[in-house]
């Protein structure tokens, strides 16, 4: 369900955080959907349970997940599935950073990059 790479420079809890946020934002994890238990996820990936629980707690604080006594955590019913635009933009900021950097290296102007993005957007709509 999740892809966790312990050898990555990105801490495991952040990898999980980002993936749950994205899956909830996209509706892939709908309101009420149950998440795997901390223990199961930790065992599956052979990682420290505390790193999983850290991610879950942060997601709970953000209002994305709900905790239930003795039951699995679920996606919150009024989950900010439509998170504020600023939040959603923040999530793709790292990808934009990379695109901007690559554009600078290739001496592509801001306008040219914006045009290319627009074309890409239109093409992906056609699919």
């Amino acid at each position: 369900m999740f892809i966790l790479n312990p050898q990555s420079g990105i801490p495991i809890y952040r990898q999980l955080l980002d993936q749950v946020r994205r899956m909830v934002a996209s509706g892939q994890l709908p309101a009420g959907a149950a998440l795997p238990s901390i223990r199961d996820l930790a065992l599956l990936h052979a990682v420290n349970p505390m790193t999983i629980s850290k991610a879950y707690s942060l997601l709970e604080a953000e209002g994305i997940l709900e905790r239930h006594r003795g039951k699995p955590m679920t996606v919150a019913s009024q989950a900010p599935s439509r998170a504020a635009l600023s939040t959603r933009l923040q999530q793709i900021a790292p990808l934009l950073d990379q695109a901007v950097l690559a554009a600078r290296q290739l001496q592509i102007t801001e306008t040219e990059l914006a045009k290319a993005l627009h074309r890409q957007w239109e093409e992906s709509n056609d699919d």
């Binding site: 312990p6 050898q7 990555s8 420079g9 990105i10 801490p11 495991i12 809890y13 952040r14 901390i38 223990r39 930790a42 065992l43 990936h45 052979a46 990682v47 420290n48 349970p49 505390m50 790193t51 629980s53 850290k54 950073d97 950097l101 600078r104 290296q105």
Partner: protein, 293 residues
């Protein structure tokens, strides 16, 4: 309610003759912590673990386990501590079964069912003679003996050096089980950085007898980054980069590794070089190597 630390050490030091092996170490281990101890050969990892367990007296400072000085742990406290040494302490003439029964007799909380299951899953034959077992099999048995005690504190010194990847993974899974209730503490040293990266939430990096880094693995990964500096006009001769560990100049820029990195420092550096800076996060192995350049 305040949770009291499982291990507490203040200004701990150890010298053998005139040689300082460990100097001025202060740390705490809390219930639920899984501490990974990293260091080059001879950095003092084994000595540190032995000091914690009270096998050898400190030259300076103090260390206590469950509130008792390590050298004077009452018997009831010792029963809560499990240890897997680098050199196993199995009794050659015994069979596996006899060795298991012997150790079980010391521990009132002995988990016989767990030991049976692990022996089965890890292919340890209870009828085998210990003297005829391979290094890897002996190491597996030592680990099973420690898990069987259901220790509140488990200390392991290079526990997986002789294990194959499959056995290592089984061992890691068992450590996850052990730490899942967040009540127990684990301290383990290993040269297999990827194992530590999976299991540890706290990292100690020993360098020349000192704790060069102690803290969360997550903070470590967020703190030490590789910077790619690019500026069309060429890099200034003099650069002021806080926390610089290494710098390599290249055509049109440089690659630098820094510690205690912040977003603010990144903006400051971009202004300084009139160019752009990209931060790349590093895996634990690369961080370890960078800290030892």
């Amino acid at each position: 309610m305040m949770t009291s630390p499982t291990i507490h050490a203040a200004h701990l030091g150890k010298a053998f003759g005139s040689r300082d092996v460990l100097r001025d170490l202060s740390f705490e281990v809390m219930p639920g912590d899984v501490v990974g101890v990293l260091g080059k050969n001879g950095a003092g990892k084994t000595t540190l673990l032995e000091l914690m367990l009270g096998f050898t007296p400190p030259t300076t400072g103090e260390v206590s386990v469950f509130g008792h000085p390590s050298r004077r742990m009452p018997g009831t406290v010792k029963l809560r501590v499990g240890f897997v040494p680098q050199q196993d302490e199995l009794l050659d003439p015994l069979s596996v079964r006899d060795q298991l029964n012997l150790v079980a007799s010391f521990y009132p909380d002995w988990d016989g069912a767990l030991v049976e299951r692990l022996c089965d899953e890890w292919h340890i034959d209870p009828r085998a003679r210990i003297r005829s077992m391979s290094m890897g099999e002996r190491q597996k048995l030592s680990i099973v003996l420690a898990f069987g005690q259901r220790p509140q504190l488990l200390v392991l010194d290079e526990p997986v050096a002789s294990l194959d990847p499959l056995a290592r993974r089984q061992f890691l899974e068992q450590l996850v089980e052990l730490s899942a209730d967040a009540q127990r503490a684990v301290v383990f040293s290993s040269h297999i950085v990827s194992d530590i990266e999976r299991l540890a939430n706290r990292i100690w990096i020993l360098k020349e007898g000192r704790l060069d880094w102690q803290g969360d693995l997550d903070s470590l990964k967020e703190s030490i980054v590789r910077l790619h500096l690019q500026c069309a006009g060429g890099l200034p001769e003099r650069l002021a980069i806080p926390g610089l560990l290494s710098l390599r100049r290249l055509e049109g820029g440089a690659v630098a590794v820094v510690r205690d990195w912040t977003q603010a420092a990144q903006h400051e550096l971009e202004r300084q070089i009139h160019g752009c800076v990209q931060a790349e996060s590093l895996g634990l192995e690369e961080i370890f190597l960078e800290l030892h350049r």
